[in-house]
């Protein structure tokens, strides 16, 4: 229903999209993006099949180090995964917060 209200008052399609649609979808998009990030970060079989020669993901490195028994390095790299997830989550919340820039400006108020 909020989207219907916007369809009636819509000033133009761009504003309809950035001021109504995206902010209403933002929470879902952030949750989905974070979930996919975590799943992709820990993905091994697909990474092994698709990465080009000479490069490696963090999961492949962990897998290789486990093979050579480098326990401390594996533990360190495993700690990096939640750290990266936290950094990505902060980035996403920053993007969500900065979306206020697109909302209607109150006349006479400096933003």
């Amino acid at each position: 229903m909020p989207v219907d209200a916007a369809r009636i008052l819509m000033p133009n399609r761009f504003r309809f999209w950035v001021q109504i649609h995206m902010p209403l979808m933002m929470r879902t998009c952030i949750a989905a993006s974070l979930l996919m990030f975590v799943l992709a970060l820990g993905e091994l079989p697909a990474s092994l099949l698709t990465i080009p020669p000479g490069t490696g993901t963090i999961t492949i490195r962990i897998y290789n180090y486990m093979h050579y028994g480098a326990t401390e390095t594996v533990a360190g790299l495993c700690l990096v995964i939640p750290l990266l997830t936290i950094i990505y989550a902060i980035f996403l919340f920053g993007v969500a917060g900065s979306w206020r820039f697109f909302l209607p400006k109150v006349p006479g108020k400096k933003t």
Partner: protein, 218 residues
Amino acid sequence: MISLNCITKSLARKTIFDDVSLTIETGTHVAITGPSGCGKTTFLRLIAGLDTPDRGDIRIESKLTSQSGRTLVPPHQRQVGFVFQASALWPHMNVVQNILFGLQQLPKSDAAEHLNRILSETGTTHLAKRMPGTLSGGEQRRVAVARTLAPEPRILLMDEPLTDLDSVAKTELAELIKSIVQNSKMTLIFVTHDLKEVSHFCDRNYVIKGAKVIALNG
């Protein structure tokens, strides 16, 4: 003038309107009543352009707006205002931003003037910086009315705006709507199932029964 010609509309295999024809003169205040699920909201949505009729056509001021499953004039170009049953305020915007959304085509000075006038007319000036989630039900409806009226629509569609309000909020909002409607030349289509509200706001009453729209008086 709003003219519905031979409108047929079905939703989920249920016929809501079957060959309905109706003309609403400009400036009249019309009530639409009927039991729950009879199609009152659908009737408003068809006029607003949020739904299209399966068959038949809708004209607003002689201009063909919808015809047999096609929307010819999109909702934002029909000069209609729609007060939804559940207020439908945008939760990420404060009250002022909610009202300003429909005023963004105006120059900034005009938008500010419009905004201040509508805030004062609807008694929402003190709520200006509040977020919708922090408002009571009555305040939310008041803001929804303000947002709808801000672009000065020629047709005002109200979908049970007084439902689920306590008696004080209901009386205040009813008086506000009445004063706005009486002081303007807007066409009002007011959906309700409270007959007291019909006599309070409207000079014609239609009831939706058996997929038909029947005039009760006037």
